[in-house]
Symmetry: C2
Subunit: 149 residues, 2 copies
């Protein structure tokens, strides 16, 4: 069951410049930063609020590390903007299987590793009214806390 | 101060079809539905979670009521997808003035009425790294509760 908006993924050309925009304009600060080589992105998570399911909602700023990554290609076509949205669940495996059974294309055979040690998968935007949709199961709280600093 | 992701605004061709997609695929249900004549949209709010500032996060599904509305023109150009993101604040007036003073274009001189009696304004996407960004102050809880059913 999807119990929160986990994050909004925003593609940008320059992560540092965009982080600085969000800091200067709104006061948002970086909760976590990492490079995901598999996805070909350098990313910053800005924590906006906590959520009623015990999780949190973030902005995820994404700079491609190579032009042929999914985000790199998307950015070349669309320019900067909202790349995807993500819902949080305690069970990304079960939920993605259930959603696949409803005829929505799930992009990975098995969930992969996402931000902060989470497990993630994506749903095909053409099956979701144009919205690239991610499902996320966060790593345990202990892992979250040790990753954060 | 912006204290939550208030909603993600998603433009669609047919509100009823898109509401049914979100219900069937994820189990999300309509919390509130209304027509905003000024914005030229028929919209449904799907409540996803409550937030640590006492508010909530929603998906806002938007169907244009006329082709020459902002959402209608956007949809003709881009197709279905994420139209804007919105942050919640207790003080949309003060925050939009402060953000204007930082050189970001605020699209309304004064906040206008948004979903569920909220007061809203928008920031120019070209000043926000490609993201059309809304600021929202929710109506009082009493008004929210009476609107919800």
């Amino acid at each position: 069951m999807l119990t929160r908006i986990d994050h909004i993924g925003i593609a940008c050309h320059d992560l540092d410049v965009t982080v600085e925009f969000y800091r200067r304009t709104y006061g948002f600060t970086v909760f976590h930063e990492e490079i995901n080589e598999e996805q070909g992105v350098r990313e910053a998570m800005l924590k906006i609020n906590e959520t009623s399911d015990g999780g949190a909602s973030y902005l995820q700023l994404l700079e491609p590390t190579r032009e042929d990554s999914a985000v790199g290609k998307w950015l070349a076509k669309n320019g900067e903007g909202v790349h995807h949205i993500a819902f949080g669940t305690a069970d990304v495996d079960g939920d993605s299987e259930a959603i696949r059974d409803k005829g929505v294309r799930v992009l990975y055979d098995e969930p992969r590793i996402g931000s902060m040690g989470s497990r993630i998968t994506f749903l095909h935007p053409k099956d979701c009214h144009g919205v690239l949709t991610e499902l996320v199961t966060a790593a345990s709280r202990k892992a979250d806390a040790s990753d954060a600093h």
